[in-house]
Every structure is written in C-alpha cells, then in structure tokens.
C-alpha cells in the first residue's frame, strides 16, 4: 500500500490514460478493473473509485480517486 498523491490524465469517459509516478509519466495500456467503495460516509468520508491499470511497461497500479477531496492517489503498485 502506498497512498501517495499523483497526477492523472483522463479520457472522455473519465478513465485514466496516463499518470505521473516517481517523476515519470506512465501510459495506461489497459484498465483491468474498476471498482468503487463508499467509505465511512457517516464520518464525512467520501466515495473512492479505484482503477487497476496495466501500463505500457507492464506494471500494474491501483489508482484511487477520492470524490470528496477530488484528489488522486496511488494506492498500490505491483511492478
């Protein structure tokens, strides 16, 4: 688990096409899975949408968008 803020570029369907990690832009080859979790809404937590992506370099990353904060984080790396 990483949980670091990142920049993400989206397509017209709001799906990630690239993101920046460790100073480099990584291109998304394929969105393998997308899921959403509600979080502790009763405590003010927002919804989070996760994308498990395969990059052109063969790495697998989990990108997380926090709807309440409108911020992207990298939550997991399988490289």
């Amino acid at each position: 688990m990483i949980d670091r803020g990142i920049q993400v570029i989206l397509n017209s369907r709001h799906s990630p096409v690239a993101f920046e990690w460790q100073g480099r832009m990584r291109r998304v080859k394929e969105v393998q899975e997308c899921w959403r979790l509600a979080g502790a809404w009763w405590d003010g937590a927002g919804e989070r949408t996760f994308f498990r992506v395969l990059t052109t370099h063969g790495g697998i990353y989990e990108l997380c968008f926090d709807h309440a904060k409108s911020a992207w984080t990298l939550s997991r790396v399988t490289d």
Binding site: E33, R36, A38, W42
Partner: protein
C-alpha cells in the same frame, strides 16, 4: 436502446430496500424505462400497489420475487402472466409455510411443480452459479445451470450479470458469459437495485444495520460496499455493459414477454351455501322481509319502498352473497350470545339493520343509504363489525370452519400446527404492515448510528406520535425536545468523534426519509380474507406469530384485488357490557335486554349532563366530558351529535361553537336556502354529517344521491385547484337549473366544501352512540356491575384500572381487597351489609325499581354493592397459581395461612405479594408474622414432598387423608416436618407482634402490587397541607363562580397535545384527586415556561382561571408546579408520585398508577 431493470428491491424487502414502490416507479419513468420489475425477498408484499401505481404511471409492471433457496443461495423469478403470478404465489407460500417464521426457503421440487409461465434468473452474487464460479468451481456451476435448465428449459432460464463496480466483477461476468454461451443460455443484465437514487444509499445502509442489529461502525456482509445499487438510467447501464450489449437487449426481451393482467376491479365473492330453491338474492329478500315485520309495526309505505330500493341496489351491484356472508357470521355470534354491533356507514342501511348486522335504526335516525352504497359507483361494500373482544376468536374460528376447505395436509405443517385456524385454502388472516414512525425510527436508526441508549430513549419518549417527517418540526417546536436536542449536541465528544451535530442531523434526515417505511408484518387483529377460489391463486401466505397464517397483502391491497375482507373487530366495551349483564343477572336476578332499553331514560341523560362519564364508551375523555358539559344532551340525537362533533375536523372548522350556541338558543338558526332546512334542522343549521352533504347536494343541485355521494368523496380527498373548480361548476350549474340564486348556490357550495372534509358519518356515530348510551345507562343504574365489567376487561377505554377503581369509590361503591377466600380470578361484585350507611334508602329503591321486584327492597336496604379485587390483579401472579387457589378453595375454604400454603401451588414471590396486599388479613394474623412464617413453610414444603400413587383415596404419607384424587402420581404435602396446619398456626400465634404498617405504607404497597388501593386515593395524604394552602379539591371547583382563580392539585392521568385549529400547541391535562377530575388547559406561553415540569412530573399543582362549561369546568393554567417537590412527604414513594407510567397504545398519555 431501452432497458428494463429486472432485479429490484423496494422497501417491502423489509429493511433491505431504501425506496418506496412509488419512488422506484417514478425513477424508472424519469430515466425512460418503459417497464420495471419489483423482486422483493420471499414475498409479493408491495406487488399490488406496485402494479396499480405503475399502470397508472404508464410503466409496465413486472411482478417477481427473489427467493432464498434451502441451500442458502438466491434465485429470481418473474411472472409472465396471471398464471405465472399464481405460480409465484404458490411457490412463495410453500417456501414460507414449510419453515419457521422469518426463515422462508424454497426447494427446487416446489419450484419445479409451479414453474410454468415464469422466467428464472440465476441471481446476484449470492446465486448458486455466480457463487460457485467465484470460488473457481466451474464444474459445479455448470451442473447447477443444468439443474435449472431441466426445470425451466433454456428459453426461460437466464444467466444474470451485474456490474455494481465491485472488485472481481469483470472476471465473474466473463465467466458467466462463457458458461451461458457454452450452454446456449441467454445472459441478462441487472443492477440488483435496492433503492431508486444514488443518494438513497445512506438510507439503505442504515436500514441494513437495523436489520442486522449492527451499527454503522461495524462491518457486515449484508452491507453494500458502495452506492451503485440504484436504478441506473439505460445509458448508465449501457456504459457498464458495453462489452455485453446482448445482456442489455435480453433484459428488454424478457420484459416484452411479461404481460401481467391482475383484472383489478373484479369482485371475487365467496360462495354462500344457500337453501334449496333459493338464489342469493331471493334468500336475502326473504330474510329482510321477515325481519321487517318484526322490527316495524306498522310497516309504512316509505319503509317498504326503502327496503325494496336497497335490495334492488344490492342486487344490481352484485352484492347479495356478501350480505348473506356477513349475516351468517352475525347470526352465528348471536346464537352463541356473543355481543356484536356493525359500525361505520353500514348502519345507513335498512337491509343491514334487518339482518341484525347493525343496531341503530336507520329509519328512526334518518340515515342515508347512499352514504353506504353508491348505486353509481361499484365499490366493495365495507362492513366492519365489533364483537365482544373476549370471544372474537370464536367468530374467526367459525369463519375458518365455514369457508375454509381442506385442513393442512403437509406433514411439516401438521406438526407445526399451533392453532386451530390452520388452513391455507380459502380463508386467511389479513396482515398489517407496521411502519416506521418518528419514535420507532429514532430508536432503530439511532441505535444503528451509534447513539447512546439513554439519549435515544429520552428523545424517542418525548416525541409525539407523529410521522418521521415531522421530527425536525417537533424538535424545533416543543420545549422539552429542544432541551433534549441541545443536550445531545452539546456533548464535546461522541465516542471519540467530534461530529455529534452531523450525526444528529443525519439521523433526523434519514428518519424523515424512512417515514412510513415497512418495518415488519403482523396480523391485522380482525381482518379475515375469504376467497371463492384457493387464496394462493392470488395471494401469497406466510406465518405470523402464534401459528397464524396471514396474507402478504394488507387490507387495502386485498380490497384492490376484489377479494372480500371481513373486519372482525374486538371491542372490549362490548365485553365489559356483557360482563356487567352477567353480574346484574347474578345479583339482581334480571335478564336485562340492553339492546332494547328505552332511548329516553332521563337518569341516563342526567349522568351524561353531569359529565361523570368515566368508563362510558366514547364520552369519557376530558374533551368529551367538556363537550357534554356544554352540549347538555337531552335526547339520543344529541348523543349522535356529541360523537360527531368531538373530532379534529369540526374543532378546526369551528363547528362546535355555533352548534352549541344554536342548540341553547343563543344564536339564531339560519339556512342559506329553505331547501336546506329539513336536512339541517336536526343539527340547528350546521352541517355536521356526511349524509347531510349528500342530501343538500341532492336537494339543491338536483344530483342523484349517487352523484351527490361522488361529489362528497371528491371533496374529501386532495384535489387540485382545477379539479375543485370543475366540481364547483357542476354544483352551481345544477343549483341554477333548480332555480337557486347564484350567490346562494356559491355560499352553499363553499359551506359544503368547508365541512365536507370534516363531516362525520352519522350512521357510524349512531352505532357508536347506541353503545355509548348503553354504557351510560349501565353506569347510571348498575354502577358496581358496570365498573366491574370495565375492570375485568382492561386495558380498555381512556383510563387505567386505578382511575376506574377510584371512580367506583366516588360513587359510593365499597371496595374490597384481595382475599384468598373471597376473590375470584377477576373483579367481582358482592352485596355486603351496610355497616356505615351512607346511602339513602331512596337510592336503593330507585335501583330496585328498575329490577321490577319490589319485594327485594327490604333485603337490599341492608346491603350495598361492593367490588372485590380479583386475584389476577396481583403483580406477577400466574394463571396456574390463580387456578390452584380457586380450585383448592372450591373443595373447602382456606382455614388458615398454613392451610393455603399446603393446598395451593403458589411460589414464594406470589405468596409474599398476597401477604403484602392483605389477601390473608381476614385470618387476623399481622402480615409481618406471615412473612416470617412463609420462609419456614416453603423450606419445609420442599423437603417433605412424598410421591403418592393412589386410586381414589388417601395420601400414604404420615397421616392426613387428602381429598379423593384420580389415579396418578401426585405430590401431596400432607405435613410439613411432621407438623400439621394447626401446629403451624399455633406457631404463628406465639411469634411476637411486629410494628404495624401505616396507612401510607399500605397504600404504597397496594399500588406496587395491585396498581390500585382499596384504602384511599393517594392524594388524601396531602389533603391537610393542601387545604391549609387553599388548594381546592377538584369537585369543589364546580360550585365556584365562573372565572374564579383557583389552585388544584392531583395526579396526572391525562396529558396530551392534540392538533388545534390554529396549529399552535396547547396541552390538555387532567388531574385526579379523591373527589374527581380537574381538567386544565395550558396555552403556548405557559407551556413554554413549564413544559419540562408538565411532562416530567407525575403529580402537579396548577393555578389558573376556572372557566365553567355547563356542569363542568376547565382551568386555564397560569402556573404549574410539581406536587412532590412542593410538598415533601413520605408519600413521594407511592407509585403515582414516583414515576410517570406510559400506557402502551395511548397517545401522549401519561398515567398514574401501577398499571
């Protein structure tokens, strides 16, 4: 491309659905869905209203169900048509009835039996196939699919796919489509929707916590992990399933083949067994004409014409069988001497009166048939009947025997048979859906949201009985709730979290949204559905409590389906009347025909005018007593008017004041049009009855009675401005055509409109008025017997037993304590010698004169009536213990305390309670000694039990011969440690005397154990101090001049906040002291100041201005103080002064006493 949601849960999935049926249909329509399925858990609870509403909204309804299978998996079934719907009903019924309540589960065998005309979907991730695939068990998943294909065939079994944006969804869907392709099955996309809009997720989440008894901070597998389970638009679904467009198309393919027609509007009456040669109509006519000859002498032409007209209308509408069925039930009841009386608009019917269904004469009371049956509107007649509550079950059993067919044949169900009412064929009880209201929402949802139990309890208890959507309004408006809310909000840390304010707001928010949500199903106490065909053709059934089978549809949905629902209601007042008649028979030797007492008995009207109507049906509440004081009824029509006037509608429409003013000649009686005079004369020109609205429309606007009733109905329901304008135009046009002046017509219409919503059904008032009059008559002439009847049928009426008991004391009836040798199980009447002759002989003569036997006078001169407290009144005494006392005593009376202990089966706590409430006082032994001895007796009794096997004869122990007993093994403690009962009694005498109990202590103990006391009213202990402080007795205030400033004190017996005309909050309090009631009114300013005191103090001192209302008064409160803080005495620990006790089922009432 269109899309239909085929897997949807409404709030009839009971705490697993976050939206109502209506909200789901509205949402479906809003997003462009042409059809919608509802598939609630294991039932069709909301199906009828869904079907009806969806049709009207232009959305095709598809009825389905999500079933739990016996192996724990889920499956979804959808009905293609009516035959499929019937099969659903049968499958659901078997799934429900073959398991314990709440554990419904279907078997594939039953589904196979009723598979026709159904689609089957493989289900959500809890379905067998997706579940196996998720575990990697492909072969088993394939086998499961084959199993369902064998049942439904490849065309009717579909693989269900969902994409709720959970991890693993993509892989699972890929596996599902592969399997479907392999087996030649269709895939269908669903969203497993549990609510309509995305935001409703929070509602659903909290409800699931309520269901699973967890809090939001707990994890639970039933909680959804995100908010994707809503009714998504076709576009959103297309986006989610862009890789599987065929799955979307198949959803529409399924929807196109589902075309259910429930034939709403068709009546389905049960077959009535007729005598040979008769049709239902001919038999009905025969019964009515026979009765007419008995009831009316002479039979005038108008009466005859009326009967013929009613019979014709009944026949034209197709209802003869219905009337015969109702007659049959009433006949049965009367043959068994079960008291009964039809209520509601049925009393408008001469046919109903002739058949003995109703007891108010429609000719004598000028009741209008069209109010009951509108010949121009073929709606199901609705005849509700009140029966003696104690014997209502006998009537229901009769219905089952008469109309039910075969008994249950299934072995499981036979074993499960807990009730004789067990058929699943043509008869079942109707369910009622308990819904979430303000209080229940706060309790359930507050707990789920992690609020402290104390806070939840205080908040819920202080809320009035309103819907959830009015909680916020109540919290802002009511001072006692504002303080509570402030307390909750002021806590700095809520279990470590700082957001208590947000949580409280969220709680109130969600409570508002779940207002009226179904909470659970229970039995409608009197509703019975009777069907011509097997019920499960149309209605799924399930278990309610106590082994009773109920329909899954409530009474409204049953009626919508055209089935006959009888309301077999239990009215405890009828039980009380019957009880009184038994006592009158026993003690006066009179067989009083209460149904035919003269309706002009002056002493009865005097009782009503004096407002001493505690215990009298419908006229005992504080408001009713106040109105009696103002109205001063003289004739039976006044009683009918009384019952009609005292309702929120007439109060808010300000009908009461003009009525009373005109009644007493203080205001001129005017009519806008002379044609209204014959109709409104009986109510002094005031429109009071719905029947009058009909008659006026008929007389002035020329409407037929049927049209006029339609007009009345239209006026009483919510209408748009345009609709009301159309109605108005119709009325004005009709009036003009009859030569009525336009201005007059406008005025009449506006009066009708104002009163139509509030007018009361005169027939219903007449029926209830008859019972009210009967109770007032009994109270007047046989008060001891009548009040005993009330006490024996509590809880009932407006007041708890201790208030009724005190009323008896106020009427001069002697009150006798519990006595092991004199008390029966229930309260009884005794005639006791007069030791303290407070009654005048003339009073006795009046009582006996009614008995018609003058020779009794000399005997009764030496006796008065007394009420003996029954054994059942003792706290925690069991039925078995009472039975053991009564049956042991039947052999011979108890000669001593020890004799009692030896011969009865009471446990120690019960005997202690009996000692402490004086049940052994007649033996002359101080209670302290008995308590000491009790320990010894119990201990020795348990050691000396010897089993006895005998034929008839003796105890083979050590001596004493018992009574003859049948052959069985018994434990007969003949002796205790070698001592006889006499030996023990000698021991008692040798014990030293302890300190005597004071009166106050005895009263306190009485209230603790019995909830009442024969000794005195608790206020008597305060009287000396109160008198010195010039605080009046309640009775004294009656004799004071109007507007005198007074102070009164008493125990709070009533405290309520009913709706008022202006919408402001006014509190009505009734205080009780030894002499009676002081009714007080607290207006908003005073309420603001003393709200906390009023609602938290069991006894109050109220100061204010006493306003006379005829023979009674009302104190307009200016100051309110708690009694026990003002006057500290030892009495503070008597129950009425220690705590406010809420009586279940009473709105906003706070009662005193040990009930």
């Amino acid at each position: 491309m269109g899309f239909t949601h085929l897997h949807v849960h409404s709030n009839f999935s009971f705490l697993d659905g976050g939206s109502s049926v209506r909200a789901l249909v509205d949402r479906a329509k809003a997003v462009g869905c042409k059809s919608l399925a509802i598939t609630d858990h294991n039932g069709l609870y909301g199906a009828v209203r869904f079907y009806d509403y969806a049709k009207k909204a232009g959305v095709k309804p598809i009825v389905g169900v999500e079933l739990d299978m016996e192996d724990g998996h889920h499956i979804v079934l959808l009905a293609k048509n009516l035959a499929g719907y019937s099969n659903l009903c049968k499958i659901i019924t078997r799934a429900q009835l073959s398991h314990e309540k709440g554990e419904a589960a279907a078997s594939i065998e039953v589904i196979s039996k009723y598979k026709d005309d159904l689609f089957c979907l493989s289900g959500c991730p809890k379905g067998e196939i997706p579940s196996l695939l998720s575990q990697g068990r492909l072969d088993e998943a394939r086998a499961a699919a084959h199993k369902w294909i064998d049942v439904f065939g490849p065309d009717n079994f579909l693989i269900e796919m969902q994409n709720n944006m959970l991890p693993g969804t993509a892989l699972l869907n890929s596996q599902l489509t592969e399997l479907a392709d392999e087996l030649g099955l269709r895939c269908v996309a669903t969203n497993n929707a549990h609510y309509a809009e995305k935001d409703d997720f929070k509602i659903h989440d909290v409800l699931v916590c309520v269901q699973t008894l967890t809090t939001l901070d707990d994890d639970h597998p039933l909680r959804k992990r995100n908010s994707e389970y809503y009714l998504k638009s076709p576009k959103a679904m297309a986006n989610l399933f862009r890789r599987y467009p065929q799955a979307l198309a198949n959803a529409e393919w399924v929807a196109d083949q589902c075309n259910l027609d429930l034939n709403l509007g068709t009546f389905r009456f049960p077959d009535f067994p007729l005598p040979d040669g008769e049709t239902a109509y001919s038999y009905l006519c025969k019964l009515c004409f026979e009765a007419l000859e008995r009831l009316y002498r002479p039979i005038t032409p108008p009466i005859l014409e009326r009967l013929q007209y009613e019979l014709k209308v009944i026949n034209d509408l197709g209802f003869p069988e219905y009337f015969l069925a109702v007659w049959d039930i009433v006949q049965y009841a009367r043959s068994k001497r079960i008291r009964c009386s039809g209520r509601g608009s049925a009393a408008d019917s001469l046919v109903a009166y002739c058949l003995g269904i109703t007891i108010a004469d429609p000719i004598e009371h000028n009741l209008l048939f069209e109010r009951f049956l509108n010949p121009e509107r073929r709606g199901m007649p609705d005849i509700d009947i009140d029966f003696d509550a104690a014997r209502r079950d006998e009537v229901i059993e009769y219905i089952y025997e008469r109309y039910g067919t075969k008994k249950v044949t299934d072995t499981f169900l036979q074993k499960r048979c807990l009730s004789p009412f067990l058929t699943e064929d043509r008869v079942a009880m109707v369910c009622t859906v308990s819904t979430l209201k303000a209080r229940s929402s706060i309790r359930d949802l507050g707990k789920a949201m992690g609020f402290a139990p104390d806070d939840i309890s205080r908040l819920a208890s202080a809320l009035p009985h309103v819907g959830g959507r009015r909680i916020r309004e109540a919290m802002d408006k009511l001072p006692e709730l504002r303080d509570l809310g402030r307390d909750c909000k002021s806590r700095p840390n809520f279990e470590g979290r700082p957001n208590i304010l947000d949580r409280l707001d969220a709680l109130v928010d969600i409570c508002e949204k779940v207002d009226d949500f179904p909470r659970h199903l229970s039995v409608h106490l009197g509703g019975v559905v009777i069907s011509k065909d097997l019920l499960t053709e149309l209605v799924p059934l399930e278990w309610a409590t106590k082994g009773v089978i109920v329909s899954q549809f409530d009474k409204d949905d049953i009626e919508t389906l055209g089935l006959v629902k009888m309301d077999i209601l239990g009215l405890r007042n009828l039980s009380a009347i019957e009880d009184a008649l038994v006592h009158i028979r026993q003690h006066h030797g009179i067989e009083l025909d209460i149904d035919n007492i003269p309706l002009d008995d002056e002493p009865t009207y005097e009782t009503l005018r004096s407002c001493d109507t505690v215990g009298c049906f419908q006229v005992e509440s504080p408001g009713m007593r106040g109105l009696l004081g103002r109205l001063q009824p003289r004739v039976f029509d006044d009683v009918i008017a009384q019952i009609s006037l005292f309702r929120p509608g007439p109060m808010q429409a300000d009908m009461i004041n003009p009525f009373i003013a005109r009644r007493h000649g203080l205001e001129e009686i005017t009519y806008p049009h002379p044609g209204m005079e014959p109709i409104l004369k009986e109510t002094y020109g005031v429109i009071l009855y719905q029947e009058q609205v009909i008659s006026v429309s008929h007389a002035l606007a020329g409407f037929t009675y049927g049209q006029a009733d339609s007009l009345r109905r239209a006026m009483t329901t919510d209408r748009s401005q345009e609709e009301m304008e159309k109605i108005r135009e119709g009325f004005i046009a009709g009036a003009l055509a009859k030569g009525v002046d336009k201005d007059v017509a406008e005025e009449v219409f506006s009066r009708l409109r104002a009163f139509a919503a509030y007018g009361f059904c005169k027939a219903h008032a007449a029926s209830f008025g008859k019972i009210a009059y009967q109770t007032a008559y009994l109270k007047t002439h046989y008060p001891a017997e009548f009040l005993t009847g009330i006490l024996n049928n509590e809880p009932m009426g407006f007041y708890p037993p201790n208030v009724i008991f005190e009323e008896a004391r106020r009427l001069g009836i002697a009150l006798l304590p519990v006595d092991v040798n004199a008390s029966e199980a229930r309260f009884t009447v005794e005639q006791i010698p007069i030791l303290d002759c407070r009654l005048q002989i003339s009073d006795l003569e009046t009582v006996v004169h009614d008995a018609g036997d003058q020779s009794r006078i000399s005997n009764l001169k030496s006796k008065i009536s007394a009420i003996r407290v029954g054994l059942n009144q003792v706290k925690n005494i069991s039925e078995a213990e009472v039975e053991s006392i009564v049956s042991a005593r039947a052999t011979r009376p108890f000669s001593s305390f020890a004799d009692f202990c030896l011969r009865t089966k009471c446990d120690r706590p019960t005997i202690e309670n009996l000692i402490n409430c004086g049940a052994f006082d007649s033996f002359g032994i101080p209670r302290g000694k008995l308590l000491w001895l009790l320990g010894e007796v119990i201990s020795a009794k348990s050691k000396s039990r010897k089993p006895v096997v005998s034929g008839f004869g003796s105890c083979t122990g050590q001596g004493q011969i018992t009574a003859k007993i049948p052959k069985q093994v018994v434990e007969e403690p003949c002796l205790i440690d070698g001592l006889s009962a006499d030996d023990l009694d000698d021991q008692i005498k040798n014990l030293p005397d302890g300190p005597e109990l004071s009166l106050h202590e005895r009263v306190r103990i009485d209230y603790d154990i019995l909830g009442l006391s024969t000794i005195c009213h608790p206020m008597a202990f305060y009287r000396e101090k109160l008198t010195r402080a010039r605080i009046r007795r309640a009775r004294e205030v009656r004799d004071l001049p109007d507007n005198t400033i007074v102070k009164v004190a008493g125990v709070v017996v009533v405290c309520m906040r009913p709706p008022t005309k202006s919408g402001t909050i006014v509190v009505f309090i009734t205080l009780e002291d030894e002499t009676g009631f002081a009714d007080c009114v607290v207006f908003p300013k005073v309420y603001e100041k003393y709200g906390q005191v009023i609602f938290n103090s069991p006894a109050l001192i109220i100061e204010g201005k006493a306003q006379k209302m005829g023979r009674t008064y009302s104190i307009i409160a200016s100051k309110v103080r708690p009694l026990s803080q003002t006057y500290r005495t030892d009495n503070a620990d008597i129950k009425p002064f220690k705590e406010r006790i809420r009586i279940a089922g009473q709105r906003s009432f706070v009662r005193s006493g040990g009930v």
